[in-house]
Point group: C2
Chain length 390, copies 2
Amino acid sequence: MALFAPSRSVTEILKLAERPDVISLAGGLPDPTVFDMERVRESMDRVLKDEGRAALNYGPNPGFSKLREWIAERMATKENVSLSPENILVASGGVEGLNLTAMSILDKGDTVLVEAPTYMMALHIFRGYEARIVALPMDEEGLETDGLEASLFELKKKGVTPKLLYLNPSFQNPSGRTMSLTRRRQSVELCRRYNVTILEDHAYAELVYDGERLPSLKSLDPENVVFVHTFSKIFGPGVRLGWVAADAELIERLGLCKLGTDQCSNTLAQRLVYDYGRHGFIDDQVAASIELYRNKRDAMEAAMSTHLPEGTSWGHAGGGFFLWVHLKDGADSDTLLRRTIEDYKMAFVAGSTFFANGDGGNFLRLSFSFVAQDQIDEGIQRLSRAIAAG
Amino acid sequence: MALFAPSRSVTEILKLAERPDVISLAGGLPDPTVFDMERVRESMDRVLKDEGRAALNYGPNPGFSKLREWIAERMATKENVSLSPENILVASGGVEGLNLTAMSILDKGDTVLVEAPTYMMALHIFRGYEARIVALPMDEEGLETDGLEASLFELKKKGVTPKLLYLNPSFQNPSGRTMSLTRRRQSVELCRRYNVTILEDHAYAELVYDGERLPSLKSLDPENVVFVHTFSKIFGPGVRLGWVAADAELIERLGLCKLGTDQCSNTLAQRLVYDYGRHGFIDDQVAASIELYRNKRDAMEAAMSTHLPEGTSWGHAGGGFFLWVHLKDGADSDTLLRRTIEDYKMAFVAGSTFFANGDGGNFLRLSFSFVAQDQIDEGIQRLSRAIAAG
């Protein structure tokens, strides 16, 4: 169980961070005020009244048919990708989408390319299948495509074709960074040339606070990109629903894998989300979420400018839930975290959580999504004092 | 993907069996009339009104605390096992409970003991972790403990300690058989002596149509039995909820594995099931289900006595969803199935689905749970004609 040691330290810290006197900027939870409870109840009433008995029984393994159709149509509108329902598998959250994809594609020893930093649960999943993880450098424009090309070239010389390149191109967890359009085009082109499937994690991409949305990688190369999205940030994580968009043959394999994970996704929740979505309520909720989170992001960036000590820097987050703080070289954010929780009653996630090789000691992730607006400034003040005392 | 070939043939056949002119005795779905929709709506209204925002957000990874407490208390009452909430993990259905247990215990090449026949999804899961599956003979009293002892002895001589013995002791899927009290005691004693963990699948154990409930294996040896149960047959499968009861250390490991499958179980559904359960509605539903399914079982056994041709035999099902039919030697139920669907518009599940080595051609599984009561006799008549024509 050595594989799970990093996760264990994460869960331990999250437990500490839940103490009521701690201001936590650690977890990436939605702000519960974005949920439109009246509309949720309206949809749920309709589902239970009109189709309650079907909603409580097993449903089709790849997902509720009407929801798959609705997702395919929505992706045509929002993502400019033409798909049929056979290209959609409804998963029990985005993480299950990543897990099923890894389960059906990876064998022990296969190489997976990731960004450094990258989403910790993706690392957890790839490690679980004993993949060899190769981390690639990124900067403010996202994955460095020169580095990607060099790595693909070096691996090819050794006879290695990576099975997957995992990317979270829009408002990445943890860095908040967004891959530029040029880099998107280059990544897609390189992966096609080197025959590497891209696994695109779209979790935060709809939460755009500044400027235009960039095209998804899926829209740039529909055939070579497996696309994973979640209802967690556009509806609510409590229903544990997301989806995978891929070619029909892979979707069928994911469904077979899913027979052995949870058989099918929650039928009641699928019908709820379908009803809520087809009434336009998801799009309304996304619009309201953008307003809410933009304000929080602004408040946190302002507090950081005011309070964070010299030698600390951070990137602007144009969307999503996260800000990524660069401490001075030699800092150790794991030690800082324990001290900050105990002595300053404030929590974040240490940078090392997001690096395949345990690097990242001079980084930390802040989330502005869940914290109450009126606690943001105080939270950043506490962090600043902790850093300054270090 | 060769691993999944048997499952693929199962899904193909289930698709055929869904044609509206086919009477399907294949799937193990609950009868939708057992769902008490008025009470479900009452509980759901309460959850959405009182705690809707929490229900739509992420919840604790091992499960909603009040539900874990309620499960632990219910197990004390129903199963005579003393547990604390730390011994309970809420999973996304019983299958996820099996999968997480296998994920956290099995390494490639480990030996797992199963009954022949056994639950197909358990085989699917153990194969997924590349376990060596050793199938043990069973009879009308369940697993043959002489065979278990001989197998443990032989394996020990070769230096092999199986990691798990998977048992479904009450109204087994697929055979409907129940392990006698003597065999239960012997199995528990042998596994303790040979240091083999028992994985007990309790899915159908509450649906008792005749006589007394036998004690669970968990109650006979709380320390050495990992117990998996599901809400699918006592509430509804659409919510995809079940649980694992085990020592706190294993529960913690299952939780870490679950971070990479779906992070946490559906929060909304957990709160619904908790509210429904604590009002006593689950126990009422189980009582009503027993009445309903006993009638269906009686109708199917009567139809079988009337119609099934000479040379065919079957066991009595004292509970659960299934009847297990023994065809004459040399029969091939896979071929019979295709012919029965196409020419007689009736479906069942072929016996080979439930055997690790593809045996079982002269068996088939019938489910009486989902089919409408007034179609049972006609369904068995169609099957009888198909067998007789064979």
